[in-house]
């Protein structure tokens, strides 16, 4: 049982790490700010989500698990906000006056 959980955990964390890698490559390689933001949010949202899922399999207590999910939700919220704010400044027509 614990072996299955461990395998699942490792798989999820690895998948998450892959999204982070892809997001970072996108951040560095994509041509304009909006595309870069797009790449970045993928890393934050899905990558971190997968890592959190991976850690859930190993959480010591339900409370710890809840904290993991809480971290993810807060990062989602912060990421979405900051992306929105940056995009507003960065969009081709410039910020709304």
């Amino acid at each position: 049982m614990s072996l299955v959980l461990n395998v699942l955990s490792v798989l999820a964390v690895c998948a998450g790490a892959f999204f982070f890698l892809a997001g970072t490559v996108g951040l560095l390689r994509f041509p304009d700010p909006l595309c870069r933001l797009h790449a970045l949010t993928k890393a934050d949202n899905i990558g971190l989500g997968l890592v959190v899922i991976g850690l859930l399999f190993r959480a010591a207590s339900p409370l710890t698990a809840l904290k993991h999910v809480g971290v993810w939700l807060l990062v989602l919220l912060a990421g979405a906000t900051v992306t929105q704010l940056i995009a507003h400044i960065a969009r081709p027509s410039g910020p709304r006056a």
């Binding site: 807060l74 919220l77 912060a78 906000t81 929105q84 507003h88 709304r96």
Partner: protein, 310 residues
């Protein structure tokens, strides 16, 4: 171990980038990353209390302050170019820095083994404080005088910053520039995040007596939430002359001092707590202190009272 080596290299790379970056803003962003990485290092060094402080204060609040400053300076950059340092100066600085680093590294190797430590003494005395977190015991009992003076240092920095206000602006509200952002996303997220943050801040303060956390970490989070709310235009600071604001700022150190002086009568020394009530008295100090520190930190970030310029 390999994780630690990787982390060390990363910290050093980001630090070097911060120094080498051409643009100040880029350097500041590098500094925030540097602070977050240092927080990891503190976890690796088995110092979770410091990790929390570093993340919240060293990286978060300091970073916010520097980002704000660099963007304001960029807007008002004078055309006159700053004189660039000459090659000779750079070379001399490099030699000096390498010598200092090498010397320090050598000294790290020369430190005695086994290392001298106060951990056993701190552990032996912790029962008398009623606390479970040794770091909090150091801050609130063994070396409480440092903590008391440090809170006064924070307040003095605030007096210093306020003293920079133009005379005509004394008594005005602390207006934050660009507070009423037309983009309502910030307002929305502030409404959502600030209550959560306040709960987290209070929680971190509250668990400080037994677990990692404490008044400084909690207060920093509270201050950050206030800053966020004021950026979103949800709250605005009172004028610096308001009596209640002054009371909030000074109540913490005042209670600290009062209980410290009461120690003369109750436990025979300044800042001594009677054994039976130590934990309670520390708590009575910590609550107003957290409030005062949070207010001071938030106002330190807000800067001197100044008319908002367009």
């Amino acid at each position: 171990m390999s994780f630690d080596i990787g982390l060390t290299l990363l910290v050093l790379a980001v630090a070097a980038w911060t120094i080498a970056a051409r643009e100040t803003f880029v350097a500041v962003v590098g500094f925030v990353a540097y602070g977050l990485l240092l927080a990891f290092v503190w976890v690796r060094l088995a110092a979770p209390d410091v990790a929390l402080t570093e993340a919240a204060l060293g990286s978060g609040l300091t970073g916010g302050l520097l980002i704000g400053a660099s963007s304001r300076l960029r807007r008002s950059q004078s055309p006159a170019a700053e004189e660039a340092p000459g090659v000779v100066l750079k070379a001399a600085a490099a030699v000096l820095s390498i010598l200092v680093s090498a010397g320090l590294a050598a000294i790290v190797l020369l430190l005695p083994d086994p290392a001298p430590t106060l951990a056993p003494q701190a552990a032996a005395s912790i029962a008398a404080t009623g606390l479970g977190n040794p770091v909090t015991a150091v801050l609130m009992a063994y070396r409480a005088i440092d903590t008391l003076l440090e809170i006064v240092v924070l307040l003095l920095a605030l007096v210093g910053i306020w003293s920079l206000a133009p005379d005509r602006d004394w008594g005005r509200r602390l207006d934050r520039r660009g507070s009423t952002d037309p983009v309502s996303v910030l307002t929305f997220v502030a409404q959502l995040l600030v209550p959560v943050g306040i709960i987290v801040g209070i929680h971190i303060f509250w668990v400080g007596s037994v677990a990692p956390g404490g008044e400084f970490q909690g207060a920093t989070i509270l201050a950050t939430m206030w800053t966020l709310a004021s950026m979103a235009g949800l709250v605005s600071a009172a004028a610096v002359t308001r009596r209640w604001l002054r009371l909030v700022l000074t109540i913490g150190p005042a209670v600290f001092l009062a209980i410290g002086l009461a120690g003369f009568a109750l436990a025979g020394a300044f800042l001594a707590y009677p054994k039976s009530h130590a934990k309670l008295m520390i708590l009575v100090i910590e609550i107003p202190v957290t409030l005062s520190i949070a207010a001071t930190l938030a106002l330190l970030v807000a800067g001197p009272p100044e008319r908002a310029r367009q």
